[in-house]
């Protein structure tokens, strides 16, 4: 169902608004985004914010896909270009380039990292049973990052594991 159409039917405020939200949050929600023309998704609860691209401060001798660090309200947040990391498409930086900032609690310590993607597309509702195992037939994205696949219409969305994405050690090995 199109989220835009839904949004129009839900009262923005007032006593009925809560019911509306109840209605759309059946199942888990995922934020989908584009790398080139492929669709990916992450758990929406991990999304801290969505920012436009700004030139980060370079980290000396960092891998190519680590673009640098930015200041997010006093927190130093590293920026990783998922397109370069997964080698799925060229990295172009313009005013439409988007940074999705994800926060995850790891071992009682919160980590926040921003990921550069081409565009944010939609919010996707999916029940657990709709998430299918990803077949292993090669591909650029290492299996450790993939939680599964979700079919949307004729397209398929790759669901990424947010925790693995946050592990810098993982980034180092690749």
């Amino acid at each position: 169902m199109d989220i835009q159409a839904l949004a129009k039917d839900i009262p923005a405020e007032g006593e009925y608004s809560l019911e509306g939200i109840d209605f759309i949050t059946s199942g888990k929600q995922y934020l989908t985004f584009l790398l080139g023309d492929e669709q990916y998704a992450v758990d929406i609860l991990c999304v801290e914010e969505i920012r436009s691209w700004e030139q980060p401060t370079v980290i000396p001798n960092a891998p190519k896909y680590v673009k640098g660090v930015i200041n997010m309200r006093g927190i130093i947040v590293p920026i990783i270009d998922l397109r370069l990391k997964f080698k799925v498409c060229d990295a172009i930086y313009n005013e439409f380039t988007v940074v999705i900032v994800l926060t995850v609690e790891l071992d009682e310590h919160t980590r926040t990292i921003g990921f550069v993607v081409d565009a944010v597309s939609d919010v996707l509702n999916a029940e657990d049973n709709e998430i299918k195992k990803s077949p292993y037939f090669g591909g650029c994205v290492p299996q450790a990052y993939i939680d599964g696949l979700i079919n949307v219409g004729t397209k398929v969305v790759t669901l990424l594991n947010v925790e693995t994405l946050q592990l810098i050690e993982k980034h180092k090995v690749d």
Partner: protein, 694 residues
């Protein structure tokens, strides 16, 4: 009615540790006949005992009771305090600390130590008691003996006794008027705290009264409560020949002779344990401090914060008023308002920083005890002089500087101060002096640990270094270069390994710890006159004075403390050595040039050393010239961690946010030098590999 007592436990613990510290320092400064000090020690012990009793830390209560009894005897002048007693009390303070820490962490403690100390305390107390008993009885036999009988009274009140307005205390006071009264409360009927009704009385008493009063007189006292209690009154005649005191005085000599040996022996033995225990407890203490992470702040500091807050609010309301209907004519007013805001924020920042500052006496106050114990252990006589203990230092720095300081003081005692006869032979006062001094110097704090001992043997250090292959045998080194060798790993000139300084950690660890705090350590020494270790620390870890520099498009921050000077490289002073190593002649030094852009793989404006800007920095005694494109402002920066969300980066110690909101990296100078050396080595390896292939 039930109160959750556990919420008060942390403050009890905090107060107890403070009390213990007070006891310890007072004991160390105790002069004979100083009643005021004895009183304060007694009070500290007493309140610890009381608190421990309230919170059910029974072993603390029992142990402290013994300490208190001993102190009480001293306080009342019934006992002359001897050095032996002081030593025992110090060990007892250690035990109390152990017990309280065990109670806090719900952990085990060194039971041997506690039971041994308990035994010693009991022996010391008994040693005195028989004689005092006999004295007392002697007096009694003289004056009070004809006074009649000993009355044994068992008084078991009913639980609701106090509800009828009767107070046992009043009864006992009345009894005490009749003669000499001793009380013993029986507490075995007290139910668990949860089931307890605070309005009921669960205690019963065994009383003994030495009095000429008749049974009727005693019964009269209990007249009002007769129906509400079980009362038994039995009398025994006071025997004219006091049997008990005699018996005990028969035992006394034997136990006395036995005692007189064991306490001394253990007093000598003890300090060794005491040092370890002190160490252990020190560690625990820092641990607990980190766990709790609380800070005690003077009210004046909080007051000034509140004042500043008030001013800030006024400025804010003024500015928002101005903003409501702003016209260009009010621009001046806006400007002055903004100036005021700037002033307020600055002051607020300073005040907030001040809250983290603690006087260095927090780190220094463990040293009197340490030197006292070490003095006994080594048999060297020494005094400790502490100066500048009010100098303030950031809490985090303070916590981390403690251990290195302990090591330096130990080192001064062990290697610095000579034994008394050598000192006398060299015409120096018999007892050595160790001085701890702290003072501010240009945004840094300097801590000096100096001794008036024999100084560092330059030749011994040098020959050891040559033996270890650290220095070339025909190298000429300056004094400071030689003394710096002391900080090399595994370097020790001590002929024998003593357990005072040795301990497997060397001065290299001290140096590393100090460096990790962004500080430096220097040694000065004069043969025969003593040596001085000078520790230079930043005031706080959170803020650093930085020099902003530009390399290509990036701005980096070089900690001001590491910068020796900045200069424009002149072509004639640039030397290329062995192909690709660039050296810059800075007066007599040849300073290697490190181009930051190469190390960090950045595009840069200037790639040629000629006329480049060099920032000469020093770390680990190594000077290097960092090549930069431009020198920008100097400013204080707030250090932010890169590790939190990313990882440690070689050559970078952290990041900060500049005024325009952008992020700038802070250069880790020692790390950068290391990096440059590694690069050079890699290059050399490649060369040799190439050579081998050819």
């Amino acid at each position: 009615m039930s109160v959750d007592l556990s919420q008060f436990v942390p403050s009890f613990l905090e107060e107890s540790f403070e009390g213990l510290e007070l006891m310890e320092s007072s004991l160390l400064n105790l002069d004979a006949g100083d009643n005021e000090t004895i009183h304060s020690i007694f009070r500290a012990a007493h309140s610890i005992k009381g608190g421990a009793g309230t919170f059910g830390f029974n072993n603390v209560t029992e142990f402290t009771h013994l300490v208190e009894t001993l102190l009480d005897e001293i306080r009342d002048g019934r006992r002359e305090i001897t050095p032996k007693d002081t030593e025992l009390l110090l060990v007892a303070v250690d035990c109390m600390r152990l017990l309280i820490e065990a109670a806090r962490d719900d952990a085990d403690y060194d039971e041997n130590k506690v039971s041994e100390t308990t035994r010693l305390l009991e022996l010391t107390l008994e040693m005195k008691t028989p004689s005092s008993d006999s004295e007392m009885v002697d007096i009694e036999t003289d004056t009070k003996k004809p006074a009649g009988k000993i009355w044994h009274i068992t008084f078991i009140p009913e639980h609701h006794l106090v509800q009828t307005g009767n107070d046992p205390l009043l009864l006992f006071n009345a009894l005490a008027d009749l003669g000499e009264l001793t009380l013993k409360a029986k507490t075995d009927l007290i139910p668990p705290i949860a089931e307890m009704d605070a309005t009921e009385l669960y205690i019963s008493w065994e009383l003994s009264l030495i009095s000429e009063a008749s049974e009727a007189d005693i019964r009269e006292v209990f007249e009002w409560v007769e129906d509400e209690c079980t009362l038994e009154i039995v009398s025994t005649e006071l025997s004219p020949e006091p049997v008990e005191p005699n018996a005990s005085s028969d035992i006394a000599p034997t136990s006395d002779s036995e005692l007189s040996i064991s306490p001394i022996a253990s007093a000598i033995e003890k300090p060794a344990n005491a040092v370890q225990a002190a160490e252990k407890s020190d560690k625990n203490k820092t641990k607990s401090k980190q766990d709790v992470g609380s800070i005690r702040v003077g009210v004046d500091k909080v007051d000034s914060l509140i004042n500043l807050m008030g001013e800030l609010v006024i400025t804010q309301s003024m500015l928002s008023e101005l903003g409501n209907d702003f016209e260009i004519s009010k621009l001046e007013k806006l400007k002055s308002g903004l100036d005021q805001l700037l002033q307020n924020t600055k002051e607020l920042q300073e005040s907030v920083m001040k809250i983290r500052m603690l006087p260095i006496s927090f780190a220094f106050n463990r040293f009197p005890r340490l030197v006292h114990d070490l003095s006994i252990k080594t048999g060297k006589e020494m005094n400790l002089v502490i100066r500048g203990e009010q100098t303030e230092l950031d809490k985090t720095v303070m916590e981390q500087i403690g251990d290195p300081l302990v090591h330096l003081v130990r080192n001064a005692v062990d290697h610095g101060i000579e034994s008394s006869d050598i000192r006398v032979a060299n015409g120096k006062p018999k007892s050595g002096t160790i001085t701890l001094d702290a003072y501010h110097q240009g945004g840094n704090i300097i801590i000096e640990i100096s001794d008036d001992g024999g100084g560092i043997n330059r030749e011994a250090v040098l020959s050891k270094a040559i033996e270890k292959g650290l220095v070339d045998s025909n190298a000429t080194l300056s004094d400071s270069q030689v003394f710096d060798l002391l900080f090399e790993p595994g370097f020790s000139t001590a002929k024998e390994i003593s357990d005072i300084s040795g301990r497997g950690v060397g001065m290299d660890v001290v140096k590393r710890n100090i460096q990790s705090l962004g500080g430096r350590i220097q040694v000065e020494s004069e043969p025969g006159k003593g040596s001085k270790f000078k520790v230079n620390l930043p005031l706080t870890l959170a803020i650093l004075d930085g020099q902003l520099v530009r390399v290509g498009t990036e701005v980096y921050i070089i900690p001001l403390i590491t910068i020796v000077e900045s200069l424009q490289a002149k072509a004639e002073f640039i030397n290329k050595v062995s192909g690709d190593m660039t050296l810059y002649r800075l007066r007599e030094d040849n300073v290697p040039v490190i181009p930051i852009y190469q190390l960090f793989d950045l595009p840069a404006d200037t790639k040629d050393v000629n006329n480049a800007l060099l920032v000469v920095v020093e770390a680990d005694g190594q000077k290097v010239g960092l090549m930069v494109d431009d020198l920008l402002a100097q400013q204080q920066v707030v250090i932010k961690s890169l590790k939190d969300n990313y990882q440690q980066v070689e050559g970078i110690s952290g990041a900060t946010i500049l005024g325009d909101g952008s992020v700038a990296m802070i250069i880790d100078v020692p790390g950068m030098i290391e990096m440059a050396i590694e690069r050079a080595q890699e290059k050399q390896n490649e060369h040799t590999l190439d050579g081998a292939l050819v």
